[in-house]
Symmetry: C2
Protein backbone atom coordinates (compact mmCIF):
# COMPACT_ATOMS: atom_id res chain seq x y z
CA UNK A 1 0.00 0.00 0.00
CA UNK A 2 1.17 3.52 -0.81
CA UNK A 3 0.81 5.99 2.06
CA UNK A 4 0.14 9.41 0.48
CA UNK A 5 0.58 12.40 2.78
CA UNK A 6 -0.97 15.80 2.08
CA UNK A 7 -0.82 19.09 3.96
CA UNK A 8 -3.11 22.07 3.45
CA UNK A 9 -1.46 25.29 4.61
CA UNK A 10 -4.24 27.65 5.66
CA UNK A 11 -4.11 31.19 6.96
CA UNK A 12 -4.85 29.96 10.50
CA UNK A 13 -3.92 26.24 10.54
CA UNK A 14 -2.08 23.39 8.86
CA UNK A 15 -4.31 20.38 8.17
CA UNK A 16 -2.47 17.16 7.34
CA UNK A 17 -3.70 13.73 6.21
CA UNK A 18 -2.31 10.40 5.11
CA UNK A 19 -4.41 8.50 2.55
CA UNK A 20 -4.44 4.84 1.57
CA UNK A 21 -4.71 3.62 -2.04
CA UNK A 22 -8.49 4.13 -2.03
CA UNK A 23 -8.23 7.75 -0.93
CA UNK A 24 -9.46 6.95 2.57
CA UNK A 25 -8.03 9.04 5.40
CA UNK A 26 -5.74 6.99 7.71
CA UNK A 27 -4.28 9.89 9.71
CA UNK A 28 -5.46 13.45 10.29
CA UNK A 29 -3.69 16.18 12.27
CA UNK A 30 -3.80 19.95 12.76
CA UNK A 31 -1.39 22.64 13.93
CA UNK A 32 -1.65 26.44 14.14
CA UNK A 33 0.03 28.25 11.22
CA UNK A 34 3.12 30.13 12.49
CA UNK A 35 2.89 33.91 12.24
CA UNK A 36 6.20 34.57 10.47
CA UNK A 37 7.10 33.42 6.97
CA UNK A 38 10.67 32.71 8.17
CA UNK A 39 9.57 29.72 10.28
CA UNK A 40 6.89 28.44 7.88
CA UNK A 41 8.94 25.82 6.02
CA UNK A 42 10.64 24.57 9.21
CA UNK A 43 7.25 24.11 10.88
CA UNK A 44 5.92 22.37 7.76
CA UNK A 45 8.80 19.87 7.76
CA UNK A 46 8.24 19.20 11.46
CA UNK A 47 4.48 18.80 10.97
CA UNK A 48 4.98 16.39 8.06
CA UNK A 49 7.26 14.26 10.31
CA UNK A 50 4.56 14.25 12.99
CA UNK A 51 2.04 12.77 10.52
CA UNK A 52 4.02 9.52 10.54
CA UNK A 53 5.50 7.45 7.72
CA UNK A 54 4.55 8.23 4.12
CA UNK A 55 5.69 7.35 0.61
CA UNK A 56 4.67 10.56 -1.16
CA UNK A 57 3.99 14.12 0.03
CA UNK A 58 2.04 17.00 -1.45
CA UNK A 59 1.41 20.48 -0.07
CA UNK A 60 -1.35 23.00 -0.84
CA UNK A 61 -0.67 26.68 -0.21
CA UNK A 62 -2.87 29.78 -0.54
CA UNK A 63 -1.28 31.82 -3.32
CA UNK A 64 0.57 31.79 -6.62
CA UNK A 65 2.76 28.68 -6.86
CA UNK A 66 5.16 27.97 -9.69
CA UNK A 67 5.34 24.56 -11.30
CA UNK A 68 8.61 23.92 -9.45
CA UNK A 69 6.94 24.51 -6.10
CA UNK A 70 8.02 28.07 -5.29
CA UNK A 71 5.34 30.10 -3.49
CA UNK A 72 5.57 33.41 -5.31
CA UNK A 73 3.06 35.51 -3.38
CA UNK A 74 0.50 34.65 -0.69
CA UNK A 75 -1.45 37.72 0.50
CA UNK A 76 -3.05 35.69 3.33
CA UNK A 77 0.26 34.33 4.69
CA UNK A 78 2.02 37.42 6.03
CA UNK A 79 5.33 38.06 4.36
CA UNK A 80 5.35 34.90 2.27
CA UNK A 81 7.08 35.83 -0.97
CA UNK A 82 9.33 33.71 -3.13
CA UNK A 83 9.34 30.85 -0.58
CA UNK A 84 10.99 27.69 -1.92
CA UNK A 85 8.46 25.35 -0.28
CA UNK A 86 8.79 22.49 -2.78
CA UNK A 87 12.58 22.44 -3.25
CA UNK A 88 13.34 22.81 0.49
CA UNK A 89 10.90 20.11 1.57
CA UNK A 90 12.10 17.79 -1.21
CA UNK A 91 15.62 18.11 0.21
CA UNK A 92 14.39 17.49 3.77
CA UNK A 93 12.56 14.27 2.88
CA UNK A 94 14.64 12.98 -0.02
CA UNK A 95 11.61 12.75 -2.32
CA UNK A 96 9.91 15.01 -4.85
CA UNK A 97 7.39 17.03 -2.81
CA UNK A 98 4.57 18.37 -5.00
CA UNK A 99 3.28 21.84 -4.17
CA UNK A 100 0.25 23.54 -5.68
CA UNK A 101 -2.37 26.16 -4.99
CA UNK A 102 -4.82 25.14 -2.25
CA UNK A 103 -7.91 25.59 -4.42
CA UNK A 104 -6.28 23.56 -7.20
CA UNK A 105 -5.73 20.81 -4.59
CA UNK A 106 -9.37 21.03 -3.48
CA UNK A 107 -10.50 20.77 -7.12
CA UNK A 108 -8.38 17.66 -7.59
CA UNK A 109 -9.87 16.09 -4.44
CA UNK A 110 -13.51 16.88 -5.28
CA UNK A 111 -12.95 15.68 -8.86
CA UNK A 112 -11.38 12.34 -7.87
CA UNK A 113 -13.26 11.54 -4.66
CA UNK A 114 -16.01 14.09 -4.09
CA UNK A 115 -18.74 16.19 -5.72
CA UNK A 116 -17.37 16.16 -9.29
CA UNK A 117 -16.58 12.46 -9.65
CA UNK A 118 -17.06 11.30 -13.25
CA UNK A 119 -17.06 14.75 -14.87
CA UNK A 120 -14.32 15.74 -17.36
CA UNK A 121 -14.81 19.52 -17.27
CA UNK A 122 -15.06 20.96 -13.78
CA UNK A 123 -14.67 24.30 -12.04
CA UNK A 124 -14.29 24.33 -8.28
CA UNK A 125 -15.13 27.65 -6.63
CA UNK A 126 -14.34 28.09 -2.93
CA UNK A 127 -16.40 30.82 -1.34
CA UNK A 128 -14.52 31.64 1.84
CA UNK A 129 -12.97 34.83 3.17
CA UNK A 130 -11.96 35.35 -0.47
CA UNK A 131 -12.62 33.19 -3.56
CA UNK A 132 -10.34 30.47 -4.86
CA UNK A 133 -10.68 28.27 -7.90
CA UNK A 134 -9.47 25.12 -9.58
CA UNK A 135 -9.99 24.00 -13.16
CA UNK A 136 -10.31 20.55 -14.78
CA UNK A 137 -10.64 20.61 -18.58
CA UNK A 138 -10.67 17.72 -21.01
CA UNK A 139 -10.24 15.24 -18.14
CA UNK A 140 -7.07 16.84 -16.83
CA UNK A 141 -6.28 19.12 -13.91
CA UNK A 142 -5.19 22.40 -15.55
CA UNK A 143 -2.53 24.54 -13.91
CA UNK A 144 -1.91 27.03 -16.71
CA UNK A 145 1.46 28.08 -18.08
CA UNK A 146 2.91 29.04 -14.68
CA UNK A 147 0.68 27.13 -12.29
CA UNK A 148 -1.47 30.24 -11.70
CA UNK A 149 -4.72 29.15 -13.42
CA UNK A 150 -7.89 29.46 -11.34
CA UNK A 151 -7.25 32.84 -9.69
CA UNK A 152 -10.92 33.47 -10.37
CA UNK A 153 -11.59 35.68 -7.35
CA UNK A 154 -9.77 38.49 -9.10
CA UNK A 155 -11.93 38.61 -12.21
CA UNK A 156 -13.05 42.22 -12.33
CA UNK A 157 -16.88 42.29 -12.52
CA UNK A 158 -17.51 45.95 -11.60
CA UNK A 159 -14.62 48.28 -12.46
CA UNK A 160 -16.07 51.12 -10.37
CA UNK A 161 -16.67 48.79 -7.40
CA UNK A 162 -14.93 48.65 -4.02
CA UNK A 163 -11.11 48.58 -3.85
CA UNK A 164 -9.50 45.13 -3.54
CA UNK A 165 -6.22 44.44 -1.67
CA UNK A 166 -4.87 43.18 -5.03
CA UNK A 167 -4.74 46.80 -6.17
CA UNK A 168 -7.75 46.88 -8.47
CA UNK A 169 -11.46 47.61 -8.00
CA UNK A 170 -14.54 45.45 -8.20
CA UNK A 171 -12.93 41.99 -8.19
CA UNK A 172 -15.50 39.20 -7.96
CA UNK A 173 -14.41 38.31 -4.42
CA UNK A 174 -15.35 41.83 -3.23
CA UNK A 175 -18.99 40.72 -3.71
CA UNK A 176 -19.28 36.95 -3.74
CA UNK A 177 -17.12 35.89 -0.77
CA UNK A 178 -17.71 35.91 2.99
CA UNK A 179 -16.38 39.46 3.08
CA UNK A 180 -18.70 40.36 0.19
CA UNK A 181 -21.73 39.03 2.05
CA UNK A 182 -20.73 41.13 5.04
CA UNK A 183 -20.40 44.24 2.85
CA UNK A 184 -23.80 43.67 1.20
CA UNK A 185 -25.29 43.31 4.71
CA UNK A 186 -23.95 46.68 5.82
CA UNK A 187 -21.22 45.18 7.99
CA UNK A 188 -23.21 42.45 9.72
CA UNK A 189 -21.35 39.15 10.16
CA UNK A 190 -22.13 36.35 7.73
CA UNK A 191 -23.36 34.07 10.53
CA UNK A 192 -25.82 36.76 11.66
CA UNK A 193 -27.08 37.26 8.10
CA UNK A 194 -27.68 33.52 7.74
CA UNK A 195 -29.40 33.28 11.12
CA UNK A 196 -31.57 36.34 10.47
CA UNK A 197 -32.55 35.12 7.00
CA UNK A 198 -33.48 31.71 8.40
CA UNK A 199 -35.83 33.37 10.88
CA UNK A 200 -37.52 35.21 8.01
CA UNK A 201 -35.97 38.70 8.18
CA UNK A 202 -37.03 40.17 4.80
CA UNK A 203 -34.15 42.61 4.56
CA UNK A 204 -31.62 39.85 5.13
CA UNK A 205 -33.38 37.53 2.68
CA UNK A 206 -32.95 40.34 0.14
CA UNK A 207 -29.24 40.47 1.01
CA UNK A 208 -28.99 36.71 0.37
CA UNK A 209 -30.62 37.25 -3.05
CA UNK A 210 -28.20 40.04 -3.94
CA UNK A 211 -25.31 37.88 -2.83
CA UNK A 212 -26.61 34.94 -4.87
CA UNK A 213 -26.82 37.23 -7.91
CA UNK A 214 -23.14 38.16 -7.59
CA UNK A 215 -22.11 34.52 -7.09
CA UNK A 216 -24.14 33.51 -10.17
CA UNK A 217 -22.72 36.34 -12.29
CA UNK A 218 -19.18 35.07 -11.74
CA UNK A 219 -20.19 31.44 -12.29
CA UNK A 220 -21.80 32.42 -15.61
CA UNK A 221 -18.63 34.27 -16.63
CA UNK A 222 -16.63 31.12 -15.88
CA UNK A 223 -19.13 29.00 -17.81
CA UNK A 224 -18.77 31.27 -20.85
CA UNK A 225 -15.00 30.82 -20.78
CA UNK A 226 -14.67 27.15 -19.74
CA UNK A 227 -18.00 25.41 -20.50
CA UNK A 228 -17.84 23.05 -17.51
CA UNK A 229 -20.24 20.12 -17.07
CA UNK A 230 -20.01 20.49 -13.29
CA UNK A 231 -19.44 23.45 -10.98
CA UNK A 232 -18.54 22.65 -7.37
CA UNK A 233 -19.08 25.28 -4.68
CA UNK A 234 -16.92 24.90 -1.60
CA UNK A 235 -15.61 26.97 1.29
CA UNK A 236 -17.08 28.26 4.53
CA UNK A 237 -20.36 29.46 3.01
CA UNK A 238 -21.33 25.91 2.08
CA UNK A 239 -22.32 25.40 5.73
CA UNK A 240 -25.57 27.20 4.78
CA UNK A 241 -26.00 25.60 1.36
CA UNK A 242 -29.74 25.01 1.84
CA UNK A 243 -30.14 28.79 2.05
CA UNK A 244 -27.74 29.74 -0.76
CA UNK A 245 -28.20 27.06 -3.43
CA UNK A 246 -31.78 27.83 -4.58
CA UNK A 247 -31.20 31.56 -5.29
CA UNK A 248 -27.75 30.89 -6.82
CA UNK A 249 -29.23 28.24 -9.16
CA UNK A 250 -32.12 30.53 -10.11
CA UNK A 251 -29.86 33.52 -10.86
CA UNK A 252 -27.42 31.29 -12.74
CA UNK A 253 -30.13 30.08 -15.13
CA UNK A 254 -31.40 33.64 -15.60
CA UNK A 255 -27.94 34.97 -16.50
CA UNK A 256 -26.65 32.10 -18.67
CA UNK A 257 -25.99 32.92 -22.32
CA UNK A 258 -28.44 31.18 -24.69
CA UNK A 259 -29.88 29.06 -21.83
CA UNK A 260 -32.48 27.28 -23.97
CA UNK A 261 -29.89 25.98 -26.45
CA UNK A 262 -27.43 24.29 -24.11
CA UNK A 263 -27.21 21.77 -21.30
CA UNK A 264 -26.73 23.58 -17.99
CA UNK A 265 -23.79 22.55 -15.84
CA UNK A 266 -24.55 20.55 -12.71
CA UNK A 267 -24.22 22.79 -9.66
CA UNK A 268 -22.99 20.79 -6.65
CA UNK A 269 -21.76 21.69 -3.21
CA UNK A 270 -18.39 20.29 -2.16
CA UNK A 271 -18.47 16.99 -0.29
CA UNK A 272 -15.05 16.77 1.35
CA UNK A 273 -15.39 19.74 3.67
CA UNK A 274 -12.33 21.33 5.22
CA UNK A 275 -10.24 18.24 4.39
CA UNK A 276 -10.54 18.79 0.61
CA UNK A 277 -7.29 20.78 0.36
CA UNK A 278 -5.24 18.24 2.29
CA UNK A 279 -6.74 15.26 0.44
CA UNK A 280 -6.02 16.99 -2.89
CA UNK A 281 -2.47 17.78 -1.78
CA UNK A 282 -2.00 14.07 -1.03
CA UNK A 283 -3.27 13.25 -4.55
CA UNK A 284 -0.90 15.72 -6.25
CA UNK A 285 2.14 13.44 -6.69
CA UNK A 286 0.11 10.81 -8.58
CA UNK A 287 -1.58 13.49 -10.73
CA UNK A 288 1.64 15.14 -11.95
CA UNK A 289 2.53 14.70 -15.59
CA UNK B 1 -0.44 14.14 -49.82
CA UNK B 2 -3.60 14.78 -47.79
CA UNK B 3 -5.76 17.61 -49.14
CA UNK B 4 -7.48 19.21 -46.11
CA UNK B 5 -10.42 21.48 -46.90
CA UNK B 6 -11.72 24.10 -44.49
CA UNK B 7 -14.61 26.56 -44.70
CA UNK B 8 -15.16 29.56 -42.46
CA UNK B 9 -18.83 30.58 -42.40
CA UNK B 10 -18.93 34.30 -41.70
CA UNK B 11 -21.86 36.66 -41.31
CA UNK B 12 -21.22 38.10 -44.79
CA UNK B 13 -19.14 35.48 -46.64
CA UNK B 14 -17.93 31.89 -46.82
CA UNK B 15 -14.13 31.63 -47.09
CA UNK B 16 -12.81 28.23 -48.15
CA UNK B 17 -9.28 26.81 -48.41
CA UNK B 18 -7.55 23.55 -49.20
CA UNK B 19 -4.26 22.94 -47.36
CA UNK B 20 -1.38 20.59 -48.12
CA UNK B 21 0.42 18.55 -45.43
CA UNK B 22 2.53 21.58 -44.40
CA UNK B 23 -0.50 23.75 -43.84
CA UNK B 24 0.17 25.78 -46.97
CA UNK B 25 -2.86 27.11 -48.84
CA UNK B 26 -3.36 25.40 -52.23
CA UNK B 27 -6.84 26.74 -53.01
CA UNK B 28 -8.77 29.75 -51.72
CA UNK B 29 -12.34 30.76 -52.62
CA UNK B 30 -15.10 33.05 -51.36
CA UNK B 31 -18.86 33.24 -51.69
CA UNK B 32 -21.51 35.54 -50.16
CA UNK B 33 -23.34 33.99 -47.19
CA UNK B 34 -26.98 33.30 -48.11
CA UNK B 35 -29.52 35.36 -46.20
CA UNK B 36 -31.79 32.53 -45.03
CA UNK B 37 -30.83 29.72 -42.69
CA UNK B 38 -32.89 27.28 -44.81
CA UNK B 39 -30.44 27.43 -47.74
CA UNK B 40 -27.27 27.63 -45.63
CA UNK B 41 -26.32 23.94 -45.61
CA UNK B 42 -27.18 23.47 -49.29
CA UNK B 43 -24.97 26.42 -50.24
CA UNK B 44 -22.20 25.08 -48.01
CA UNK B 45 -22.26 21.67 -49.70
CA UNK B 46 -22.18 23.35 -53.12
CA UNK B 47 -19.33 25.66 -52.06
CA UNK B 48 -17.29 22.74 -50.69
CA UNK B 49 -17.69 20.94 -54.07
CA UNK B 50 -16.48 24.10 -55.83
CA UNK B 51 -13.24 24.04 -53.79
CA UNK B 52 -12.19 20.89 -55.66
CA UNK B 53 -11.08 17.48 -54.43
CA UNK B 54 -10.26 17.00 -50.75
CA UNK B 55 -9.63 14.14 -48.30
CA UNK B 56 -10.94 15.81 -45.13
CA UNK B 57 -13.32 18.70 -44.49
CA UNK B 58 -13.84 20.99 -41.51
CA UNK B 59 -16.24 23.90 -41.05
CA UNK B 60 -16.11 26.88 -38.69
CA UNK B 61 -19.36 28.60 -37.76
CA UNK B 62 -20.12 31.69 -35.65
CA UNK B 63 -22.05 30.40 -32.64
CA UNK B 64 -22.55 27.57 -30.18
CA UNK B 65 -21.68 24.24 -31.80
CA UNK B 66 -22.14 20.87 -30.13
CA UNK B 67 -19.44 18.24 -30.27
CA UNK B 68 -21.49 16.33 -32.85
CA UNK B 69 -21.54 19.35 -35.18
CA UNK B 70 -24.99 20.82 -34.54
CA UNK B 71 -25.11 24.61 -34.66
CA UNK B 72 -27.27 25.38 -31.65
CA UNK B 73 -27.54 29.16 -31.89
CA UNK B 74 -25.81 31.75 -34.07
CA UNK B 75 -26.98 35.32 -33.36
CA UNK B 76 -25.07 36.65 -36.37
CA UNK B 77 -26.52 34.13 -38.86
CA UNK B 78 -30.19 35.12 -39.02
CA UNK B 79 -32.48 32.30 -38.02
CA UNK B 80 -29.79 29.68 -37.60
CA UNK B 81 -30.91 27.50 -34.71
CA UNK B 82 -30.40 23.77 -34.23
CA UNK B 83 -28.86 23.40 -37.71
CA UNK B 84 -27.37 19.93 -38.29
CA UNK B 85 -24.34 21.26 -40.21
CA UNK B 86 -21.98 18.41 -39.35
CA UNK B 87 -24.32 15.43 -39.77
CA UNK B 88 -25.86 16.73 -43.03
CA UNK B 89 -22.51 17.55 -44.64
CA UNK B 90 -21.05 14.23 -43.48
CA UNK B 91 -23.88 12.46 -45.32
CA UNK B 92 -23.35 14.59 -48.44
CA UNK B 93 -19.64 13.83 -48.71
CA UNK B 94 -19.46 10.36 -47.16
CA UNK B 95 -16.84 11.42 -44.64
CA UNK B 96 -16.84 12.73 -41.06
CA UNK B 97 -17.09 16.52 -41.46
CA UNK B 98 -15.76 18.30 -38.35
CA UNK B 99 -17.61 21.44 -37.26
CA UNK B 100 -16.55 23.86 -34.55
CA UNK B 101 -16.89 27.44 -33.45
CA UNK B 102 -15.11 29.90 -35.78
CA UNK B 103 -12.97 31.42 -33.02
CA UNK B 104 -11.97 27.93 -31.85
CA UNK B 105 -10.89 27.26 -35.45
CA UNK B 106 -8.89 30.49 -35.54
CA UNK B 107 -7.22 29.57 -32.24
CA UNK B 108 -6.24 26.18 -33.65
CA UNK B 109 -4.78 27.82 -36.78
CA UNK B 110 -2.81 30.51 -34.93
CA UNK B 111 -1.55 27.90 -32.44
CA UNK B 112 -0.36 25.43 -35.10
CA UNK B 113 0.78 27.79 -37.87
CA UNK B 114 0.61 31.38 -36.65
CA UNK B 115 1.20 33.76 -33.77
CA UNK B 116 1.08 31.18 -30.94
CA UNK B 117 3.31 28.48 -32.41
CA UNK B 118 5.23 26.63 -29.68
CA UNK B 119 3.05 27.74 -26.74
CA UNK B 120 1.06 25.17 -24.71
CA UNK B 121 -1.39 27.57 -23.03
CA UNK B 122 -3.00 30.05 -25.41
CA UNK B 123 -6.04 32.29 -25.54
CA UNK B 124 -7.11 33.69 -28.89
CA UNK B 125 -9.30 36.78 -28.71
CA UNK B 126 -10.91 38.04 -31.90
CA UNK B 127 -11.89 41.68 -31.65
CA UNK B 128 -14.39 42.13 -34.46
CA UNK B 129 -18.00 43.30 -34.53
CA UNK B 130 -18.28 41.22 -31.34
CA UNK B 131 -15.62 39.22 -29.48
CA UNK B 132 -14.86 35.54 -30.02
CA UNK B 133 -12.39 33.30 -28.24
CA UNK B 134 -10.54 30.03 -28.42
CA UNK B 135 -8.64 28.24 -25.67
CA UNK B 136 -5.59 25.94 -25.71
CA UNK B 137 -4.61 24.53 -22.28
CA UNK B 138 -1.98 21.97 -21.43
CA UNK B 139 -1.05 21.62 -25.11
CA UNK B 140 -4.58 20.71 -26.22
CA UNK B 141 -7.36 22.63 -27.93
CA UNK B 142 -10.11 22.83 -25.29
CA UNK B 143 -13.76 22.76 -26.33
CA UNK B 144 -15.40 22.40 -22.92
CA UNK B 145 -18.07 19.90 -21.98
CA UNK B 146 -20.42 20.85 -24.84
CA UNK B 147 -18.07 22.52 -27.29
CA UNK B 148 -19.04 25.98 -25.99
CA UNK B 149 -15.78 27.01 -24.29
CA UNK B 150 -14.37 30.39 -25.29
CA UNK B 151 -17.58 32.42 -25.38
CA UNK B 152 -15.51 35.12 -23.75
CA UNK B 153 -17.31 38.10 -25.26
CA UNK B 154 -20.19 37.50 -22.89
CA UNK B 155 -18.20 37.76 -19.65
CA UNK B 156 -20.07 40.44 -17.75
CA UNK B 157 -17.60 43.16 -16.76
CA UNK B 158 -20.03 45.95 -15.82
CA UNK B 159 -23.43 44.71 -14.64
CA UNK B 160 -24.97 48.18 -14.93
CA UNK B 161 -23.50 48.70 -18.42
CA UNK B 162 -25.26 48.83 -21.82
CA UNK B 163 -27.73 46.09 -22.77
CA UNK B 164 -26.35 43.23 -24.89
CA UNK B 165 -28.36 41.29 -27.53
CA UNK B 166 -27.64 38.18 -25.41
CA UNK B 167 -30.10 39.50 -22.86
CA UNK B 168 -27.72 40.72 -20.18
CA UNK B 169 -25.94 44.01 -19.48
CA UNK B 170 -22.31 45.03 -19.63
CA UNK B 171 -20.86 42.05 -21.49
CA UNK B 172 -17.19 42.54 -22.37
CA UNK B 173 -17.99 42.83 -26.08
CA UNK B 174 -20.17 45.88 -25.38
CA UNK B 175 -16.90 47.74 -24.69
CA UNK B 176 -13.96 45.94 -26.25
CA UNK B 177 -15.24 45.14 -29.76
CA UNK B 178 -15.65 47.21 -32.91
CA UNK B 179 -19.11 48.19 -31.71
CA UNK B 180 -17.65 49.07 -28.31
CA UNK B 181 -15.08 51.37 -29.89
CA UNK B 182 -17.89 53.09 -31.78
CA UNK B 183 -19.90 53.52 -28.57
CA UNK B 184 -16.91 54.96 -26.69
CA UNK B 185 -16.40 57.40 -29.58
CA UNK B 186 -19.96 58.70 -29.34
CA UNK B 187 -21.11 56.87 -32.48
CA UNK B 188 -18.19 57.65 -34.78
CA UNK B 189 -17.10 54.75 -37.00
CA UNK B 190 -14.05 52.77 -35.94
CA UNK B 191 -12.19 53.70 -39.13
CA UNK B 192 -12.75 57.40 -38.41
CA UNK B 193 -11.55 57.00 -34.83
CA UNK B 194 -8.38 55.30 -36.04
CA UNK B 195 -7.76 57.92 -38.73
CA UNK B 196 -8.43 60.82 -36.36
CA UNK B 197 -6.21 59.35 -33.66
CA UNK B 198 -3.40 58.85 -36.17
CA UNK B 199 -3.58 62.53 -37.13
CA UNK B 200 -3.19 63.45 -33.45
CA UNK B 201 -6.80 64.27 -32.38
CA UNK B 202 -6.45 64.31 -28.57
CA UNK B 203 -10.07 63.41 -27.89
CA UNK B 204 -9.85 60.36 -30.15
CA UNK B 205 -6.51 59.34 -28.66
CA UNK B 206 -8.29 59.40 -25.29
CA UNK B 207 -11.01 57.14 -26.78
CA UNK B 208 -8.30 54.70 -27.93
CA UNK B 209 -6.90 54.67 -24.37
CA UNK B 210 -10.34 53.99 -22.86
CA UNK B 211 -10.89 51.23 -25.39
CA UNK B 212 -7.47 49.73 -24.63
CA UNK B 213 -8.36 49.76 -20.93
CA UNK B 214 -11.52 47.69 -21.57
CA UNK B 215 -9.66 45.26 -23.81
CA UNK B 216 -6.95 44.85 -21.15
CA UNK B 217 -9.48 44.38 -18.35
CA UNK B 218 -11.00 41.37 -20.11
CA UNK B 219 -7.57 39.97 -21.03
CA UNK B 220 -6.54 40.19 -17.37
CA UNK B 221 -9.74 38.41 -16.31
CA UNK B 222 -8.93 35.62 -18.77
CA UNK B 223 -5.34 35.49 -17.50
CA UNK B 224 -6.59 35.08 -13.91
CA UNK B 225 -8.74 32.13 -14.97
CA UNK B 226 -6.51 30.42 -17.55
CA UNK B 227 -2.90 31.59 -16.96
CA UNK B 228 -1.92 31.52 -20.65
CA UNK B 229 1.68 31.92 -21.81
CA UNK B 230 0.47 33.61 -25.01
CA UNK B 231 -2.53 35.77 -25.84
CA UNK B 232 -3.29 36.29 -29.54
CA UNK B 233 -5.41 39.24 -30.61
CA UNK B 234 -7.20 38.81 -33.93
CA UNK B 235 -10.15 40.24 -35.81
CA UNK B 236 -10.81 43.42 -37.74
CA UNK B 237 -9.22 45.77 -35.23
CA UNK B 238 -5.82 44.20 -35.78
CA UNK B 239 -5.56 46.24 -38.96
CA UNK B 240 -4.55 49.14 -36.68
CA UNK B 241 -2.40 47.10 -34.31
CA UNK B 242 0.38 49.71 -34.20
CA UNK B 243 -2.16 52.09 -32.64
CA UNK B 244 -3.82 49.60 -30.27
CA UNK B 245 -1.01 47.36 -29.01
CA UNK B 246 1.01 49.87 -26.93
CA UNK B 247 -1.93 51.10 -24.80
CA UNK B 248 -3.38 47.56 -24.47
CA UNK B 249 0.00 46.20 -23.30
CA UNK B 250 0.43 49.11 -20.86
CA UNK B 251 -3.06 48.72 -19.36
CA UNK B 252 -2.64 44.94 -19.20
CA UNK B 253 0.52 45.23 -17.07
CA UNK B 254 -1.15 47.82 -14.84
CA UNK B 255 -4.19 45.61 -14.20
CA UNK B 256 -2.48 42.22 -13.83
CA UNK B 257 -2.76 40.56 -10.39
CA UNK B 258 0.59 40.42 -8.60
CA UNK B 259 2.48 41.57 -11.72
CA UNK B 260 5.94 41.60 -10.11
CA UNK B 261 5.71 37.94 -9.03
CA UNK B 262 4.84 36.28 -12.33
CA UNK B 263 5.92 36.02 -15.94
CA UNK B 264 3.61 38.08 -18.14
CA UNK B 265 1.99 36.32 -21.09
CA UNK B 266 3.28 37.19 -24.54
CA UNK B 267 0.80 39.48 -26.28
CA UNK B 268 0.82 38.85 -30.03
CA UNK B 269 -1.36 39.95 -32.89
CA UNK B 270 -2.75 37.22 -35.14
CA UNK B 271 -0.67 36.36 -38.21
CA UNK B 272 -3.07 34.49 -40.45
CA UNK B 273 -5.49 37.34 -41.08
CA UNK B 274 -8.97 36.63 -42.39
CA UNK B 275 -7.92 33.12 -43.46
CA UNK B 276 -7.34 31.96 -39.85
CA UNK B 277 -10.86 30.54 -39.44
CA UNK B 278 -10.76 28.57 -42.69
CA UNK B 279 -7.23 27.27 -42.06
CA UNK B 280 -8.27 26.19 -38.54
CA UNK B 281 -11.39 24.51 -39.92
CA UNK B 282 -9.17 22.54 -42.30
CA UNK B 283 -7.00 21.48 -39.34
CA UNK B 284 -9.99 20.30 -37.25
CA UNK B 285 -10.23 16.71 -38.50
CA UNK B 286 -6.60 15.97 -37.57
CA UNK B 287 -7.00 17.65 -34.17
CA UNK B 288 -10.04 15.64 -33.05
CA UNK B 289 -9.53 13.15 -30.27
Amino acid sequence: MTRSAGIDVGGTKFLGVILDDNGDVLVEKRRATPTGADTLIGELVDFARELGEFDTLGVGVPGLVTRSGVLRAAPNLAGAYELAVGPTMSDAFGLAVAVDNDATCAALAEWQHGAARGFDDVVLVTLGTGIGGGVVMGGRLQRGANGFAGEIGHMVVKPDGPACPCGRRGCWERFASGRGLQMLAGGRRGEDVVEGARSGDRELLEVIDQFAHWVALGLVNLTNVLDPSCIVLGGGLTAAQDLFLPPIAREFSALLYSPEHRPHPTLNFAQLGERAGAIGAALLPSSQH
